[in-house]
Amino acid sequence: MKIVIVGHVDHGKSTLIGRLLHDSGSLPEGRVEQLRQAAARRRVPFEWANLMDSLQAERDQNISIETTQIWFHSAVREYVIIDAPGHKEFLKNMVTGAASADAALLLVDAHEGIQENSRRHAYLLHLLGIRQLVVLVNKMDLVRYDQEVHARIVSEYSQWLRSVGLVSLAFIPISAKEGDNLTSHSPSLPWWTGPTVMEALDSLKPHLAPESLPLRFVVQDVYRFDARRIIAGRIEAGSLKTGDRVFFSPGGKSSEVKSIERWASAPNSTAEAGESIGITLTEQIFVERGAIGAHVESPPYELTRLKARLFWMGRRPLQLRSPYRIKLAAQEAECEIERIERVLDASTLATVGTPGAVSKVDRHEVGEVIIRTRKPVAFDLAEEIVATGRFVIVDGLDVAGGGIVIPDAYPRIRHDTQQKSEHIYWTHGKVTTQQREIRNGHPGCILWLTGLSASGKSTIATELERQLFNRGNQVCVLDGDNVRHGLCSDLGFSPEDRTENIRRIGEVAKLLAGYGVICVTAFISPYRADRDLVRKIMPEGRFIEVYINAPIEICEARDPKGLYAKARSNQIKNFTGVSAPYEAPDRPELELRTDILGCEECVSSIIEFLNAFAEAWGSNAGRI
């Protein structure tokens, strides 16, 4: 069982641990004597805290800098005790220590009373998911073991704890230095009839593995050391057995589990939460690091936007619209902060700045934010499945913040589809896609042109359509302005609306491609994640992304509809390239530089690509 000791600087955390280890006989022989001699040599008083404060700098300043872990036994069980520093400067170390604990002891100095970090630490414990807590009112020797002082702290502090969502199992009066109420009841505190520290520790409940929750199998890697293709990872919640159908998010591929792999262990066809295992699948589907395996009936959310409460530890403040990376389970995605809803001072719960109008979260503050990721991320609510409901934010090279996913109106896309599919069936006609393609002599597909306004998408699309049509191919063009008049007339240009716009176009194009048509789309489609979603709904190879690339200066100089001019003078808001971002494709199937190539050359390149594609597809090579 892991216990973290927290509280304001100098309230006696390290002293408590040193003393507790000593009084319970857990210290290695000679350790205390060694430290007493060292203190004598340096002519400073011996401190119990020196047992924890193993860095010279810590002993010199009588302050803990770094978190430490140490083992000890009670009569009942083994403990790992985690000492956390109380100074505000070292909050990242306190968080590091506390994040792995099952329960906490929170010290308050009776003489100094409740301080800034007494409050902040309690808030952070809650954010880190710790719910078992015992408050120790320390240094009772300095207040003549006065019951009144204890009562005042109990009343004031329990109110604070309630406000951050915690309840303490007890408020034990102690003196860490004198050893009062640590392992036995102290005669100096006859009025205390509650537990000693040791009794309180032994009454804490161990953390149970979340086996009753839905399955979350986090894929760390895919190995091919021998003939087997092993998907390696850890079960973070629920359990798994061979024969289960597992569904991987993001991506949405599923397969049956063929075997559960372990090395030098007794074979076992089931695996439970906490186990690092490997699995093999019956179907050869594409799965990569980061994917979360779930059972079909209870998948995680899979979105590019999530709401979170996060604690910032970075040297630079967290800022709107700056590039960060989010790491959630084994997933990593580029992201930015789309909105900061409010910022809290965790030591007062006071709101910082005007809600909705703050543009940064400073070091040691807590923010409620909307995070937008570049690609879909699978996640859960922290309150439902903690391991896949929390994440860290990386700024440059450093982990700079930690957060939990909080409730919001998340569409349970997969779940909804699943429910609908009970009542909605895909209508299968009597003519199949394959028959259509054989008659057409070429496969259906989506040719997705993406690029800035005035980069040449429509010009190329219409010329391509003309040439393919003349060759007898089935072809059509979906163009930006045309769909905006009907299919998407209810949508504007906010990020959400752009996403929905692309989703609808993608679905229409998919239907057309299913009828064997070469469907050319000509939309700016600025977000990579949106385009990737379309790619994902298409069969492998049937989504051909063509990046129509021209530098913005050239597009702006062309400006056939005068839109750039309007955007520059602020008459149009959210204009791609000017006041809204454009995310170029990472790996487009084709890239055409329209500042270098003419329309004719671009069209020939595309036709060349389609020829190769049709050839790979089969029989009627060269009909395109």
Binding site: S54, V95, W263, G274, S276
Partner: protein, 270 residues
């Protein structure tokens, strides 16, 4: 899930993260119990394979049977071994056993500098090391993924936050990361696991005819055996449960001054 399985699963998770994140990864193998357990865990993590080289820092003063034992396992388990030796210093003879360096200086050149040479030579950016928090107080302050700058220095006053098994895997060019998958194990856990898994151990750990055994293995001149009758893994477990003597009590270099070991570690010692 029992206690040892929990420790094992966590270590496997860490090993797999390291393998995924570092293209140039190596594992230090001292032939001792901890790094041999670590090697066993790697075989568990990678289903019988060890997908990175093992680095053995050979000070030339190791107890000779350690080298024999090492070479035997390399053959049996099909391991890829890299040996690091600080040849210039060995040739110059400026070592503690020659009376030309203090113990701490000697550890500094023959182990720490030798390690740096291997890292530079092979371009390793991730090094897996089998240190544990309970071994020694400064190791109790370690992270699972612990950055070392280009001089191998450990900036213990400003370590990265590490929470929820999200590790520091990005770093400046020239720096490297020490990965510590055994950090959360105790000496007792290690022996309990050796017993459970039946992991082969070098005989030096078991009591000999003279009633002596090694509790911690290092260089011959600086490591003394302890008096003990423990002849089997089970005996060692019983002995440890009853004992309160620290594990590294037989290691002389830790004791030269109050912060001798801390200084060594800040400079890049394991």
């Amino acid at each position: 899930m029992d206690h040892l399985s929990k420790l094992e699963n966590q270590s496997i998770y860490i090993l797999r993260e390291a393998h995924n994140k570092f293209e140039h990864l190596a594992m230090l193998w001292s032939i001792g119990k901890d790094s041999t357990v670590l090697l066993w865990l790697a075989r568990k993590a990678f289903f019988g394979h060890v997908p990175f080289p093992l680095v053995h820092i050979d000070t030339s003063y190791k107890i000779p049977s350690m080298i024999e034992y090492r070479d035997k396992l390399v053959l049996e388990w099909g391991l890829n071994l890299v040996v690091g030796r600080n040849e210039p210093v060995l040739q110059s003879g400026v070592t503690y056993p020659n009376g030309k360096a203090t113990r701490v200086e000697c550890c500094g050149t023959l182990k720490k500098d030798a390690l740096k040479q291997v890292l530079d030579q092979h371009g390793f950016t991730g090094v897996i090391v089998g240190v544990r928090r309970d071994e020694e107080p400064t190791r109790a302050k370690e992270r699972y993924f612990s950055p070392r700058d280009k001089h191998m220095e450990w900036n213990v006053e400003d370590q990265p936050p590490e929470l929820w098994d999200q590790f520091k895997t990005d770093f400046e060019p020239g720096a490297h990361i020490r990965v510590h998958p055994l950090l959360h194990w105790t000496e007792l856990n290690v022996w309990e696991y050796i017993e459970r898994e039946n992991i082969p151990m070098i005989p030096l750990y078991f009591s000999n005819e003279q009633g002596m055994r090694y509790r911690s293995l290092g260089c011959a001149p600086c490591t003394v055996p302890i008096r003990s009758n423990a002849r089997t893994v089970r005996d060692i477990i019983e002995e440890l449960r009853a004992s309160r003597t620290p594990e590294r009590a037989g290691r002389a270099q830790d004791k030269e001054s109050e912060d001798a070991f801390e200084k060594l570690r800040r400079d890049g010692y394991m």
